[in-house]
């Protein structure tokens, strides 16, 4: 028995960053908006106050903030010759859950993709000729310049701490000389760097590189955002990623947008309610609303004039597949689009151990770091290298949390008294560099519905088929040694290089940057949504999130995810509401 509810103007599926962004813009335009969130309500004072926010056992080890695999998980395999098995405990990535989503427990590294990242196929083909075989890389259909005002607004909503490198064409010493032209500076100055960043910057400069502070959603000072919400200065406690911030110092939907939304009469939120399908009108020309299940197992149909998918990319893709919207991608023929171009991030790094000097990495913040961008995107000449894209190399001091972090040099046993001794000696004298590599789309990496395994409701789990590609391997092989060279210049006793070799392993944590599956593009043949993130099939269905990325760039995704959500919201308000039809003719 499905209870039919009264229709609303807009229903949002999922209430993390993009849900909050959409809700804010659409309620501001006078629409009645209902957000449906699978997880619980969460706010700073109640759910992660300073008195227990830093509970490592609860949040790191027991995954207090994340989606529970008992509720929903996925199956994984490296390639089509294997049988995918369910992930029963998260490893390589940690999907969020609850109000605020991943925005609650992120680090706050808030980059803008490069202008060339948005035109990855046309730009690289023009400069280097055809891409490697089977690379399904494509242009976004929207340009950096079009997104610029939205990047800028999100940075102001978040109070990003950083140093601009290019404001209206004027290059500024100390910023990223490669970044796209900005209309304005960051709203807050960079965070205060520590010993490790100073060494990294010095060593980078020795190599002729241009280090700049990582753009941080951790506050370098007290800040009031354009919506009137206060954020407090970061205390550098080192509990960002996997944790909520009890100090109001990390931008999250909770600390920037939700407090304003909850005061608006035309906004409503339903928590602990899981959307099951997007429904279509009988002629399959429009979305008619969504069905969802509440905590009592009651099923409801929520009609809506506009449906926006704001869940995590993996969930958005699965919802599309389960709802039968759009043609599922077939890696054999290359036809179909839903589930296509699943991409990730190609991570490697270097550990550096000092002898007499203290790094004191427990003084950290999620986005406290110095970065060099010389080897990112198309900031360097790829001629003859056999790959496209790149990586930033960064020295982040995010934390030294005692349960999670006890780096020891190579050769130390992994347990016992020798290990303990090494932990004791190195705990305060370690830092690391991270190489944050792009992940380029390939014909054989994709998402579809698993033929065997089902969730608690008997619905197929989503299946991920993924491995690093030739482009990925060449990329990381080329750039990791550069990080190694910088690390050698930092004056440590010894270093350990952590290469990214072999097949993708879904267990060791790498990053929660799962992209693609509901990609955007210029034609319905190669994308799920158009340049305004509007479904090619159902014009009143919009999709947000990193699932839109046709391929992933060498940066953390949130800045670009947010800019795309604002861009799409603007298109809904300024264009869609007038025509209520496709904003791009197929």
């Amino acid at each position: 028995m499905v209870t039919r509810l009264e229709s609303v103007d807009v229903v949002l599926v999922g209430f993390g960053w993009t849900g909050a962004i959409m809700a804010e813009k659409l309620t501001d335009a006078g629409l009645e908006v209902l957000a449906i969130e699978r997880g619980p309500w969460r706010d700073t004072p109640t759910h992660f106050p300073t008195t227990f926010a830093q509970d490592e056992l609860r949040y790191y080890w027991r995954h207090g903030m994340f989606q529970e695999t008992a509720q929903d998980t996925l199956t994984f395999r490296n390639n089509r010759s294997q049988t995918a098995l369910p992930m029963r405990r998260w490893g390589s990535f940690l999907p969020g859950n609850g109000v605020g989503g991943g925005g609650v427990h992120w680090n706050g590294q808030t980059f803008r993709f490069l202008p060339s990242d948005f035109v990855a196929r046309s730009h690289n083909e023009e400069r280097y000729g055809p891409l490697l075989e089977d690379m399904t890389v494509q242009d976004y259909g929207v340009t950096y310049d079009e997104l610029e005002p939205h990047f800028d607004y999100f940075e102001k909503i978040c109070g990003i701490s950083g140093q601009a490198g290019n404001v209206r064409g004027e290059f500024i010493e100390g910023g990223n000389p490669f970044e796209g032209e900005r209309s304005d500076h960051y709203p807050n100055p960079p965070l205060r760097m520590t010993f490790s960043q100073d060494r990294f910057a010095e060593a980078s400069r020795q190599l002729g590189l241009h280090p700049f502070p990582g753009p941080a959603a951790n506050m370098s000072r007290a800040y009031v955002n354009p919506l009137g919400v206060h954020l407090a200065p970061c205390t550098y406690c080192g509990f960002c990623e996997k944790f909520g911030c009890g100090n109001y110092s990390k931008s999250a939907p909770q600390t920037t947008i939700i407090p304003v939304l909850m005061r608006r009469n035309n906004f409503r939120l339903k928590t602990n309610a899981e959307v099951l399908t997007v429904q279509q009108t009988p002629d399959q020309s429009m979305a008619s609303g969504v069905t969802y299940l509440d905590a009592n197992g009651e099923e409801y149909f929520q009609p809506a004039d506009i449906v926006v998918l704001c869940a995590y990319p993996l969930s958005n893709t699965r919802l599309m597949l389960l709802s039968g919207i759009g043609e599922p991608y077939d890696p054999e023929t290359g036809h179909g689009v839903v589930g296509k171009n699943y991409c990730y991030q190609v991570m490697s790094g270097v550990d550096i151990f000092f002898e007499d000097e203290y790094t004191n990495e427990f003084v950290g913040a999620g986005a406290l770091g110095m970065i060099v961008d010389e080897y990112n995107g198309d900031n360097f000449d790829h001629t003859g290298l056999g790959f496209i894209g790149g990586a930033y190399i960064g020295c982040w001091t995010t934390h030294a949390r005692p349960i999670e972090s006890h780096p020891v040099p190579e050769g130390v046993p992994s347990w016992g008294s020798e290990w303990k001794k090494a932990v004791r000696e190195n705990f305060l004298k370690h830092t690391s560099l991270s190489v944050h590599g792009a992940s380029m789309a390939h014909r054989t990496n994709y998402l579809d519905l698993d033929p065997t395994y089902t969730d608690r409701l008997g619905r197929p789990l989503m299946r991920m088929t993924y491995d690093f590609t030739l482009n990925d391997r060449r990329l990381t092989q080329h750039i990791t040694p550069i990080a190694e060279e910088i690390a050698r210049g930092m004056g440590g006793r010894e270093i350990t290089v952590n290469h990214r070799r072999g097949s993708y392993d879904s267990m060791p944590y790498q990053t929660t940057h799962n992209t693609g599956g509901t990609i955007m593009g210029s034609t319905p043949v190669d994308s799920v949504v158009n340049r305004y993130c509007q479904s090619w099939d159902l014009p009143n269905l919009f999709i947000t999130g990193a699932g839109l990325f046709p391929q992933n760039a060498g940066y953390n995704p949130t800045g670009t995810v947010a800019a795309l959500a604002y861009w799409s919201a603007e298109a809904i308000v300024n264009q869609y509401l007038r025509t209520e039809g496709p904003l791009v003719q197929a």
């Binding site: 109640t46 007290a222 009031v224 009137g228 206060h230 200065p233």
Partner: protein
């Protein structure tokens, strides 16, 4: 929806009101301006806070909120123009008598939980405007519970004696030696604002003590701090704009309104004009106070223990030197709640936490987390004693017993 939000929704204005009271000449007052003025004045008086059963999401102005007094629980009256249960049959004269004399339409004495002790100075013109506004509300049939008072207080006639002692029917008389702004400020503070209801110390019978005027008072186990702004006053270090920020924005350099005062700012003062807020500030800033007594020094062991506890638990937000983060985390150096003679509010906030009131201009969810589960009575006594003598603060030590009492009270009133 999720968390209970105490916001009162906007109130629709009923265009036509059937039962207009009395036979006065009314045509002129029934215009838009008069009703608007009445709405504004009702907001200044924060009528809605007591006359709405906020805890149970009651209908605005329909009454039924239980007000905890030292003598028992008194339930507020339905102010909507319902004939049976509201003030439908009340005339403007009836209404003025209630505000001015503290008696109802039948001449019965009203309990001073309805603060007519203050409202008595409100001008007839202003009271009439409020009356006109209340007539525009949709009539709501709402029977409020019987007051929970012991004999003989449950007999309204018993109030006569109280009124003889502590109430004087009055009209506002401007002080010609003071500015117009100052006089406006005093009119608001002493009249509709009824600030003294919380901020003035009471005698055993609940009457205002004249020599305690706005020097702080205790109500429902909250200590409403000293708000005199002149020499030695509790907010002598606040500037006029700080007071305006506190009342108008809901965030000031020194602190944010929380709990009961949060309600006042959230429902009332944030909607007042800047001019009126400035007038209130000017008046408060003119009130000097007695020099504080010099307390005995805190025992050194206790001071050092408190300092360590402070550093571990408090310094990340309130800063090691007590300077806080202005507009966000209250500076504790110079705080009128930390150094108050009655430490109730400080102890209560440490034990039970407190949320800053979200306002239109400052919607953020700032809150102080509770420490009852984390710190013992002894530790909180150490901490509180330290803070009372750290930095420029100068107030006496706090005993673990005082903490234990507050802890017991909070457990009882969870």
């Amino acid at each position: 929806m999720t968390d209970g939000n105490p916001n009162i929704p906007a109130i629709g204005v009923v265009a036509f009101v059937a039962a207009l009271g009395g036979t006065d000449i009314i045509a002129q007052e029934l215009n838009y301006t008069q009703i608007e003025r009445g709405r504004y004045l009702a907001t200044a008086g924060n009528c809605v806070a007591c006359h709405t059963d906020i805890e149970n999401d009651g209908i605005p102005f329909a009454g039924g909120r239980g007000l905890e007094t030292p003598f028992g629980i008194i339930y507020s009256q339905n102010l909507t123009p319902d004939d049976e249960t509201g003030i439908g049959h009340w005339t403007r004269d009836d209404f003025y008598r209630a505000m001015n004399e503290g008696v109802d339409r039948h001449g019965e004495h009203l309990y001073p939980a309805f603060p007519y002790v203050y409202f008595t100075i409100v001008t007839r013109e202003d009271v009439d405007a409020i009356y006109e506004y209340l007539r525009t509300l949709e009539p709501v049939q709402s029977v409020v519970p019987e007051n929970e008072l012991p004999f003989p207080l449950d007999v309204r006639q018993s109030l006569l004696g109280w009124k003889t002692l502590f109430f004087e029917e009055a009209e506002f008389v401007p002080d010609p030696d003071q500015s117009e702004v100052w006089n406006r400020g005093r009119y608001l503070v002493d009249g509709l604002g009824h600030c003294g209801a919380c901020h003035t110390g009471k005698n055993a019978l609940g009457g205002d003590q004249e020599d305690e005027y706005l020097r702080g008072g205790t109500l429902e186990n909250w200590y409403a701090p000293n708000i005199r702004g002149g020499l030695n006053g509790g907010i002598s270090h606040w500037e006029i704009e700080d007071i305006v920020d506190f009342l108008g924005v809901g965030r000031a350099r020194h602190t944010a309104p929380m709990q009961r005062m949060g309600e006042v700012v959230g429902l009332s003062t944030q909607y007042l004009t800047e001019g009126d807020l400035e007038a209130i500030a000017v008046y408060l800033k003119s009130l000097d106070d007695r020099a504080p007594e010099v307390p005995d020094p805190v025992d050194e062991d206790r001071y050092q223990a408190g300092k360590a506890i402070y550093f571990d638990n408090c310094a990340a937000c309130h800063a090691a030197d007590g300077s806080g983060v202005p507009y966000i985390f209250a500076p504790l150096d110079g705080s009128n709640k930390v150094t108050a003679e009655d430490p109730s509010t400080m102890l209560r906030v440490i034990l039970g936490g407190a949320k800053a009131e979200p306002t239109d201009l400052a919607p953020g969810p700032l809150a102080m987390p509770p420490f009852a589960w984390k710190l013992t009575d002894e530790q909180i006594a150490d901490l509180a004693s330290y803070m009372r003598q750290a930095w420029s603060n100068s107030a006496g030590a706090i005993s673990p017993d005082a903490v234990a009492d507050m802890r017991a009270y909070l457990e009882e009133h969870r």
